[in-house]
């Protein structure tokens, strides 16, 4: 156990020295494994090389580039702007309405994009100019985009949930379905946060122009491709028409079709989207491979067993364990971004969660349900890390796109959203059915 803790410390130190996370985890994993095996380098490096070849060929991971491509194509097709206009048509005339429209549009865009950063980046291009035009305060405007963007990894499809599913051997389909309700709760709570902000500071979000019904129906009609795409992907999974891989393929093909039909995609733009997809995927896989190598070291060092032993020995009860895990995520969340944080912790925590005896009323399914629930828990916890200072990546992305706001302003504005995220996490702990209700209906 001491050795694995030393390993974690080494990974974090290397990461602070700007060693890419993939290399930090891989290096520490290799050196640690060799240490535990009398410095037998064949026994250490040959399996590591095997891990590289193996991860690159994992079938379930082939959905990642497809979902990444789908998100890129949809944003190229200009659908984000139309989503925003549609939600704006209904909410814009209210106080804080544009910010609320931003949240709704982020939710909608999340339903076709697998990444939080992509969601935040895309929506900031669309929503920020609009909110500035109507005199919204920068704090509210930027915070609503940064927070809304975090929905990208919870509302399916989600790259993070795919990787969680592969690591814990859980069904990606069920994880996707499990994300829907907590995602909707997230939207509702964010809307409440906006209402709260404009109630306290009415000058932050003045009412915009009211829209006639004719324009509203046009705006709604413009969004139907997104609705269709979402239903094609998620419905296909829910009703079992095709597998997740196929759903991703259909989604990407659909997005391509939409982009082509709208003539928003030239040969060069398509090529660019493909190259960007590949680069994103490659950097994801690099971290994933590093994490698996690190995980093997941690397993050999006996950390998951030791933790489970401690939990059993002290008999603290599931709630205390969950709260402790939550604290670890808060601490890590200050420094790490979502994927690295998840890859570092899940191999250690998942066996503990599986052994807590949650959902025991479901008999043989209880372990599966516990791990699905934990997947959603981890995603919300990592979502929070995206907007937690000092390293909140969504905030940096936003700053990159918008330019003339300070990260301080964004972080200040984000506090109410951060607080409702905590509320959502507590809700998920108290009402675990939020996560497992929809996957349960799929069973029957």
């Amino acid at each position: 156990m001491a050795i694995s803790l030393l390993g974690f410390a080494a990974v974090i130190s290397l990461a602070f020295l700007r060693v890419p996370i993939a290399f930090a985890m891989g290096l520490v994993g290799v050196i640690g494994f060799a240490w535990l095996n009398d410095w037998n380098w064949t026994a250490t490096l040959s399996p590591a090389a095997g891990t590289v070849l193996d991860s690159l060929q994992t079938e379930m991971l082939s959905v990642i580039p497809l979902f990444v491509l789908m998100g890129l194509l949809v944003s190229r097709a200009g659908l984000a702007g139309e989503l925003y206009q549609a939600s704006n048509a209904f909410l814009g005339h209210r106080r804080g309405g544009l910010a609320m429209a931003t949240i709704i549009a982020c939710g909608g865009f999340s339903a076709i994009s697998g990444s939080s950063l992509a969601t935040a980046a895309t929506m900031s291009k669309v929503a920020m100019p609009e909110m500035r035009k109507y005199g919204y305060d920068d704090q509210l405007a930027t915070a609503s985009i940064a927070a809304g963007g975090t929905l990208g990894i919870l509302i399916p499809p989600s790259v993070i949930l795919i990787i969680y599913g592969v690591m814990t051997e859980q069904s990606i389909d069920k994880l996707f379905l499990a994300g829907i309700l907590p995602g909707l709760v997230g939207i509702a709570l964010y809307l409440a946060a906006v209402r709260f902000i404009v109630w306290r500071r009415p000058d932050f979000g003045p009412a915009g122009m009211s829209t006639g019904w004719r324009e509203r129906s046009t705006a709604v009609r413009n969004v139907w491709p997104i609705v269709l795409l979402f239903i094609a992907v998620l419905g296909g999974i829910y009703w079992g028409i095709y597998t997740t891989t196929e759903a991703a393929g259909i989604g990407a093909a659909g997005a391509l079709l939409i982009a082509l039909v709208r003539r928003k995609l030239g040969r060069m733009a398509l090529l660019q989207a493909l190259v960007e997809t590949l680069q994103t995927t490659a950097s994801l896989f690099a971290v994933l491979i590093g994490a698996v190598i690190f995980q093997r070291f941690v397993v050999r060092a006996g950390l998951p067993e030791a933790l489970l032993g401690i939990v059993t020995a002290f008999d603290v009860g599931p709630m205390a364990v969950i709260v402790l895990i939550l604290l670890v995520y808060f601490l890590l969340g200050c420094v790490f971004e979502s994927l690295s944080m998840m890859l570092l912790t899940v191999p250690v925590f998942a066996p503990v969660i599986a052994g807590l005896g949650l959902f025991s009323e479901y008999g043989p399914m209880s372990e599966e349900l516990a791990l699905i629930w934990f997947g959603i828990f981890v995603v919300i916890a990592t979502e929070i890390s995206l907007i937690t200072p000092p390293v909140g990546l969504n905030v940096y992305v936003l700053k990159g796109v918008v330019g003339d706001v300070t990260t301080g302003t964004i972080f200040k504005g984000i506090t109410p959203f951060w607080l409702v995220d905590i509320v959502r996490l507590i809700l998920l702990i108290l009402v675990p059915y939020l996560a497992i209700a929809i996957p349960l209906t799929m069973q029957n």
Binding site: T42, A43, P47, D54, E59, I237, Y242, T243, M365, Q443
Partner: protein
Amino acid sequence: PEARSEEVMRISSWLPPSHVNTEIFPTWIEWIEEATDGRVTGKIEYDLASPPDQIDIVTDGAADASWIFHGYNPGRFVTTKLIELPGLLADAEASSVAHQRAYETYLKDAGEHEGVVVAAMMTHGPGQLYMRTARDGLAALDGAKIRIGGGVSADVAEALGMVGVQVPAPQVYETLSGGVADGAMMPIDTNKALRLYEVTPETYIMPGGFYRGSFALILSEAFLARLSDEDREAVLSTTGERLAAMAGAAWARADIAGLELVEEVTSMHTFSDEDQQTFAGISAGIRQETIDAVADRGVDAAAALEMIEETARAYVQ
């Protein structure tokens, strides 16, 4: 903390503790402790490598022992397909012993396990067919989408005109529940282990099975070299036919539990005599192809197969 003098055999497993290996490995560890007066003991480690990489980590000495499914390394293992042929009327224990004897006498010479020490060969029970909806006999299976593993089961599905659906074991349940596949061909214990019975209410039995899976329990050469001569002898004394029989018996017990379950909660169908005849005809072709492929590796395939069938028959009686 363990005593310095004690050697720990690190056993790698690629399926969770709930699987049949919970019976096999602890018993084997007990045998080893007994034979070495406690100087050597064992420890199971999970998720050290992917299933196809298990033989590699034992070769490289990253694990001291493991169990492998030969079908996961197509191209390398051919002679192990003999035991997988359909029509062997024997439970997993009898076929495991038969597999072990054939290996010692014939298959070993092909050198397919070079780099590791084979502790025992073993098989699971006869693979049967589980369907979401009832089918009227073998002919009605033409064109059905069936989830298969690898090895002989793929040849069988193809010969029956089925459309093979290739997904890893943890995904079988959803593949079936969603209707991506109409059925699955697997050993009967998976009904319990993977909860297949929930999604496949129709169970179809072909006496002797459609196929059976070939496995090996393997030891690392580096681990054996690490032991004293006395302990090495003692550890090796726990391997061979006795280990094969113990492991096979564990698979057989799992099958019995699985069979009890499907008999209780699914409707059972046994293929008609006519269908059995038809299938025997189809299997004959697969049998010949397999014999030819095994013979290409310099093994007397016909004699090995005869030994398998003879041993299994004698063992059952």
